[in-house]
């Protein structure tokens, strides 16, 4: 995931702004009321009324991500996200008028989606409609902006992927785990050169293909009334031509039949390794079992991997399991940094022992209750954030129906030990594993 502004980096460590994208990934369940309507041009609009806040959020999700890029133009969806702030056809500056009415914005691009959001005092919500609708209508396509943002994104590439210990892991792991599907490249792109070569022609073509009402979902939340939102949506968004519906037809990833391994040696202080297993897509009926399985393995200090591998056997100084929650076939990741002096073979064998255990024995009722209880409280806590509610409404609408947000918890509660057992058996198979060894050059 890449953001317009990197809010939680060291630079802004004393700021608390713009960390929403991270939180958003962690919050799964909500009870959120909403109203929904569709404009004649195909734009889906959802409204969540919340009068406990003086603020409003306008969130717009475009159904386009890095998976929709050409293989020789990777990193483009994200570069394009930056260009969305370079002025639109009638409004030379996007950020300035928004800040002038007390608003803030940010955006992020993932392999699946591009999401833009504004928070501002609810009384000034029309400014958000004005800004967002104009850039959906058309951009300014300024050469200066393209040149600058190419540089900015290249610096982002360096800051987050090249100039950090282990920063390039995903640039290596993705092409190991995927051979055909566009998930084989990271959101930031395969290399700096492809970003440097992006042309204005590419920018215009990408806009035409993906940025229109039919490919977008608009959510307005906060201290607003649905009737007012309808009026504003008609006024600002209805005149935008419908454009073409983008029909996604991506290459399918063939079933992996043999174990893949790759070794990287770099100037890092510790040996690390990363295992990637294929897992079902986000809309699959078994998805929730995988998510809870990752929780049992790795959520918090009561989790299996933390206790067995870090505390008891002391093989790792850091160990995590998580899922990528992808719209197409995703990944179940296990990553760890080895304790000093521990042999890679021993560490890897111990991880496999844990995976074999969860594949051969059902998880206990206590473990299952624990991760479900945790899920329930996350749901209640998540309702405290307006922006999280708005983003999730948009995302669930993309999945098929925003109402799914309110019934998601039931899918989690319906997971039993047998379902997790099935998921584990199917997943943790050596022939379907891609392992990246990241070794320190000190003892390579």
């Amino acid at each position: 995931m890449c953001q317009k502004v990197f809010g939680t980096s060291g630079i802004f460590s004393t700021f608390s702004q713009n960390h929403y994208a991270y939180i958003w990934q962690n919050y799964k369940f909500f009870m959120v009321d909403f109203n929904r309507f569709t404009l004649a041009n195909g734009l889906r609009v959802l409204v969540h009324e919340d009068d406990t806040t003086p603020m409003a959020v306008l969130n717009i999700l475009y159904d386009v991500g890095a998976r929709d890029e050409d293989e020789d133009k990777t990193g483009f969806a994200h570069l394009f996200e930056h260009l969305m702030f370079g002025g639109s056809v009638n409004i030379p500056s996007y950020d300035e008028p928004l800040q002038r009415v007390g608003g803030e914005n940010n955006a992020f691009t993932s392999n699946d989606i591009t999401n833009y959001y504004i928070t501002l005092p609810a009384t000034n919500i029309e400014t958000a409609f004005w800004l967002e609708s104009d850039r959906m209508l058309s951009l300014a396509f300024s050469e200066k902006s393209l040149e600058t943002q190419r540089n900015v994104v290249c610096e982002e590439f360096k800051q987050r992927y090249l100039n950090q210990p282990y920063g390039d892991v995903w640039l290596k792991l993705r092409p190991l785990a995927y051979q055909k599907h566009p998930y084989k490249w990271a959101t930031i792109g395969q290399d700096l050169a492809q970003i440097e070569n992006a042309s204005m022609e590419d920018v215009k073509a990408f806009f035409k293909k993906h940025y229109n009402p039919q490919n977008a979902i608009l959510v307005v939340g906060g201290n607003v009334k649905t009737e007012d939102v309808k009026v504003l949506a008609e006024k600002w968004f209805a005149p935008i031509p419908a454009g073409h519906k983008y029909l996604r037809d991506l290459p399918k990833e063939p079933v992996q039949t043999s174990e893949r391994k790759e070794t990287v040696v770099a100037k890092v202080p510790l040996n690390a390794f990363y295992m990637a297993f294929k897992m079902p897509a986000r809309r699959d009926a078994t998805y929730q079992a995988y998510d809870l399985m990752a929780d049992i393995l790795s959520q918090g200090q009561s989790s299996r991997l933390y206790n067995s591998l870090l505390k008891e056997q002391q093989l790792f100084s850091d160990i995590h399991a998580y899922i990528t929650s992808s719209m197409d076939e995703g990944l179940f990741i296990i990553e760890g940094k080895l304790s000093e002096g521990v042999a890679m073979e021993a560490a890897e064998a111990a991880v496999w022992a844990e995976l074999t255990k969860i594949s051969s024995e059902e998880v206990t009722e206590t473990e299952l209750t624990k991760v479900k209880n945790k899920s329930e409280s996350i749901m209640v806590f998540a309702e405290m954030s307006l922006l999280d509610k708005a983003m999730n409404l948009a995302y669930y609408e993309l999945l098929g129906d925003a109402a799914g947000l309110n019934t998601e918890i039931d899918k989690y509660l319906a997971v039993d030990a047998l379902k997790i057992h099935d998921a584990a058996k199917k997943t943790f198979v050596r022939e379907q594993c891609s392992t990246l060894y990241y070794l320190t050059s000190d003892n390579a």
């Binding site: 004393t14 009638n90 409004i91 800040q99 610096e155 100039n163 202080p269 009561s302 206790n307 329930e376």
Partner: protein, 424 residues
């Protein structure tokens, strides 16, 4: 026909309402400040302890205690604590800050009575098992080694040490400091710091009389820890100023961090300083961002901030820039600062900053938690809500002349500490 070139009408934020907490006391005298708000059946309870007994020779004692406090008590193992907290869907978080350490529990109200006894055991019966300490030492050393490969981390560490020396604010922690931690330091620190006289409780969420009674029943009685302590206070002489260049020949970006020890929230100029900071580097549209990112494309991000601590404060500008443009970026930073000192900000730009800051303040009061956090800021600075009134008044009324004078008074780049890590 819709004219999209016309900006819709808007209003400046007029009213910002703060929820001030209710003050109560537990039977043993611990102060409890409660923001009882929100629709959800949940609560956050935070117990805050002043950091005490600072010793340069054992700079990690408070940090290690904060990390390990939930790793084993007389009655519960580390695993049991984690299991039980997770079982109830609660979150137990320990935080170490430069002035205070805190332990927070987030829970649904229905589990409050079940989780508070775990927290009580943690705060009264922690034993800091040797094995847990050994794991902590090993893993912290490893994680520090990783951080020490990051230019930005090195810049931050050296900057803090240059302006705050070997105080808790600037202590230049090395791998060896972790190796040196002894278990006895931790138990001693725990007995002195984690006691009712040194504790303040902040509650946010749904919290009424029945919940207060549960809290008082458990935490209002006598605690185990009673040892004498001295609350940390720091005073500072001069900083190490000028350029500190740490070369890393393979860097493709350089980290820059520059600034100085400054006033904190208790100073009358603080709100005005925040306006000046916002203008310079405090938001996306700031001058530093507009010039160095949006015009030149030298960086992914640049910003500045003023930070308030109990006994001091600091102002800094930070960025990571392409190694080849490091000197150019430094020149542009200098240029932006001298512009603030030599030219009056236009009404147009200042209005924008005013509106942005007011909207941002309004937006930062999202829920009961944020109201409690706002209160904590002023409480630990010894201030009242007048501080926020004054802040809002300053944002609305400060003049270009005052800002220029302020820049001349405070932003003397020849006295800055400038840390550059990478290449230049």
């Amino acid at each position: 026909m819709l004219d999209r070139t016309l900006i819709p009408e808007s209003k400046q934020v007029n009213e910002i309402n703060f929820i001030s907490p209710q003050k109560q006391e537990l039977d043993n005298g611990i102060k409890v400040f409660t923001v009882n708000a929100g629709k959800q059946e949940l609560v956050r309870i935070e117990l805050v302890f002043e950091n005490v007994n600072w010793k340069e020779s054992t700079p990690l004692q408070a940090i290690a205690v904060s990390h390990l406090i939930n790793n084993g008590t007389k009655t519960l193992s580390a695993r049991q604590i984690a299991d039980q907290v997770d079982y109830y869907g609660a979150f137990l978080q320990t935080d170490y800050g430069a002035d205070q350490s805190s332990i927070k529990i987030y829970t649904l109200n229905k589990h409050l009575a079940a989780v508070l006894p775990i927290l009580w055991s943690v705060l009264n019966e922690s034993i800091f098992p040797q094995q847990e300490l050994d794991i902590f030492k090993q893993n912290q050393q490893q994680s520090l080694k990783v951080s020490l490969q990051k230019n930005d981390f090195i810049a931050r560490k050296n900057f803090a040490n240059a302006i705050f020396g070997n105080s808790a604010y600037g202590s230049n922690i090395e791998v060896e400091d972790y190796q040196a931690i002894q278990r006895a330091e931790l138990t001693t620190y725990f007995s002195a710091a984690y006691k009712p006289e040194n504790c303040t409780i902040f509650v946010a969420g749904k919290f009424e009389e029945p919940e207060f009674n549960i809290l008082n029943g458990i935490f209002g009685k006598e605690w185990s820890n009673k040892d004498a302590s001295v609350i940390n206070h720091f005073s500072f002489d001069s900083s190490v100023t000028g350029e500190i260049f740490i070369e890393r020949p393979e860097a493709i970006q350089s980290a820059i961090r520059m600034g100085f020890r400054s006033i904190n929230r208790t100073h009358a100029d603080f709100p005005a300083f925040q306006v000046m900071n916002c203008l310079l580097g405090g938001y996306f549209g700031s001058r530093l961002m507009a010039n160095i990112r949006e015009d030149k494309g030298y960086t992914y991000g640049i910003g500045s901030a003023i930070v308030s601590m109990k006994d001091s404060g600091y102002f800094f500008i930070a960025t990571e820039v392409g190694a080849d443009v490091c000197s150019s970026a430094l020149n542009e930073i200098e240029k932006e600062i001298s512009l603030l000192k030599s030219e009056l900000v236009s009404d147009e730009e200042l209005d924008l900053v005013r509106n942005y800051m007011l909207g941002s303040m309004l937006g930062s009061l999202e829920n009961a938690f944020s109201h409690a956090d706002k209160f904590k800021n002023i409480y630990f600075s010894g201030l009242s809500y007048d501080y926020y009134d004054n802040y809002i008044k300053t944002v609305k009324s400060i003049s270009p002349e005052e800002l220029k004078a302020l820049a001349n008074q405070y932003l003397n780049t020849e006295e800055f500490t400038k840390v550059i890590v990478g290449k230049k």
